[in-house]
């Protein structure tokens, strides 16, 4: 406990010290591009925490921009994970199928997803469906490829054990293949989560009428740098938060692994 506390203090102490340095530096420099952290914090508060107490002080911007953004991002990501795991596990257990689509997968993964924004824009027009499509397309491949890898590498003795006990198909897939592949799947899912954040922003920078990304580009056009910085910091916080949550979930789901992993 003591060591933990020490680590905690060390970590946040360094962080706090850096923020102080940042504050002093930006005050000294007085650059319009780099507002001080305090200004940024104040802007963040005005922007997102100025609402009535009945709504936990959350402002309209939270409901109008932040939550839609987060919803689209998590929704697209979750859909991509489900599709990705299903497709990946199926492909991973079929060498022949993988032979056919492997090169296509490698190619699809290599396409920078933002480039597909115009395609989705044309097909789905501006709005949530286009953003979801972008996020799903961009986040699908890491999950698929990792699930393929994981499902393919089910230990041969486990395969034979399952066959000897004549496990029914669903038990074999859900009870053996998916758990075997789970560590790999989580690796893919984690990559996908950070991609989802990126793609959420990109899709909002291009084709949206609300959202964090939209606020960001709007602030840039207004030369409202504190608001822009507030958006950047918010995105960082969200990224950190989601990653931490996912790691906690992963640790739970993979608690059967010997300690010292992950």
């Amino acid at each position: 406990m003591n060591a933990k506390l020490k680590q905690f203090l060390q970590r946040w102490g360094v962080f706090a010290a850096l923020v102080v340095v940042w504050e002093l530096a930006t005050r000294a420099a007085v650059s319009p591009f780099f507002p001080t952290p305090l200004t940024i914090l104040r802007t963040m508060r005005d922007q997102w925490l100025s609402g009535p107490a009945s709504r936990l002080f959350l402002s309209d911007e939270v409901f109008g921009d932040v939550l839609p953004s987060v919803g689209r991002m998590l929704g697209g990501w979750a859909l991509a994970c489900v599709i990705g795991v299903a497709v990946g596990v199926a492909l991973g257990r079929s060498r022949v199928a993988m032979d056919y689509v492997g090169p296509l997968l490698a190619f699809a993964r290599a396409i920078p997803p933002p480039m597909l924004v115009p395609v989705f824009l044309v097909l789905l027009s501006i709005g949530t469906p286009m953003q979801l499509a972008t996020i799903i397309f961009g986040t699908l491949w890491p999950v698929v490829l990792n699930a393929v890898d994981g499902a393919r590498a089910v230990d041969s003795v486990k395969v034979e054990t399952a066959r000897v006990f004549r496990l029914p198909r669903h038990q074999w897939l859900l009870g053996v293949v998916v758990p075997s592949a789970l560590p790999k799947i989580f690796a893919g899912v984690r990559v996908s989560l950070s991609l989802a954040l990126i793609l959420m922003v990109i899709s909002e920078l291009v084709g949206a009428t609300n959202g964090i990304g939209y606020q960001l580009i709007y602030a840039q056009r207004q030369f409202d740098l504190p608001t822009m910085w507030a958006g950047i910091v918010l995105l960082g916080v969200l990224g950190y938060l989601f990653n931490t949550l996912l790691l906690a979930g992963e640790r739970r789901a993979l608690s059967w692994q010997p300690a010292g992993r992950g």
């Binding site: 034979e160 066959r163 006990f165 004549r166 496990l167 029914p168 038990q171 758990p179 059967w256 010997p258």
Partner: protein, 335 residues
Amino acid sequence: MPTMLEVTGLGHRYRSKDGEHIALDGLSFDVNAGELVCIVGPSGCGKSTLLRSISGLIRPTSGQVRLHGDVVDGVPSDLAVVFQDYSRSLFPWLSVQRNVEFPLKKSLDKAERRERARQALEQVGLAGAAGKYPWQLSGGMQQRVAIARALAYRPALLLMDEPFASVDAQTRFDLEDLLLRVRREYDTTILLVTHDIDESVYLGDRVVVLSKSPARVVRTLDVDLPAQRDQITTRESEAFVALRSEVARLLHGQPAGDAPTGNGRPSAGRAPAKGKTGTASSAGSTAASSAGSSSGSSEKAASAKAQPSRNGQAANRNRGKGNGAKSRRRGRARR
């Protein structure tokens, strides 16, 4: 005792880049219900291929396997395998209890599964570890879990692929005794593959000796030791020592006849295969009779079990039909 497993002319050849590799070359033997038969062969002789063919995991290229009369084509429903590599055959994401229950899901409801798993774990002395994960257990305990899982499945035939090869010597002794105990309690028919000569003799009612690759059956020996075995007294008994020497000789491709004579087997060289040997217990029902016929083991020094004879083959075909007295004199040599 009815025949549980019949293996006839089993052959397996792989096609690889550098030509054909023959792993199994026409093996024949059988296992009677309730028996524990050990297959012993030199490393790399194709023991695992044999076991996989019997379990239906791979299809032999020739010959056939019958499990209580039915030709094996695909894994039979009442067969279980304990693999050598327990760390890979247990599911690391399931607790010990759930590992044991896992294969029962398709056939039993929850309460029954629980109960069976509990019983089996108790049998292998792991009642207290049910909630643990495999990696929290030692290697020997993990293999006990694998054995419990196989027992809870209540297979008609239990195949064991070098089950004790990856544990240390002391644990191996413990596990061997555990196996002998639970097989009586569960009345399971067991076919165990090993490369360990002592183990095969210690555990088996019969020992099937395989040749170097490609594997053929060199000889089938009856183990005429008391059913109640003990790691110390059994292993130091004359009968045990003689048997293990014989298996060793057979394994190393030395016909028993060419054996050096300094080990209490004076006539081994010349004795013709008459099929009258001390170790020959009633070939048909070894498990039942071996306890009673232990007196025969003292004659073993003069054993002439020697080379496989045509007699022996003919005799074997009659196995189980003749009465005890007759079969006692029958040669056990088989090719």
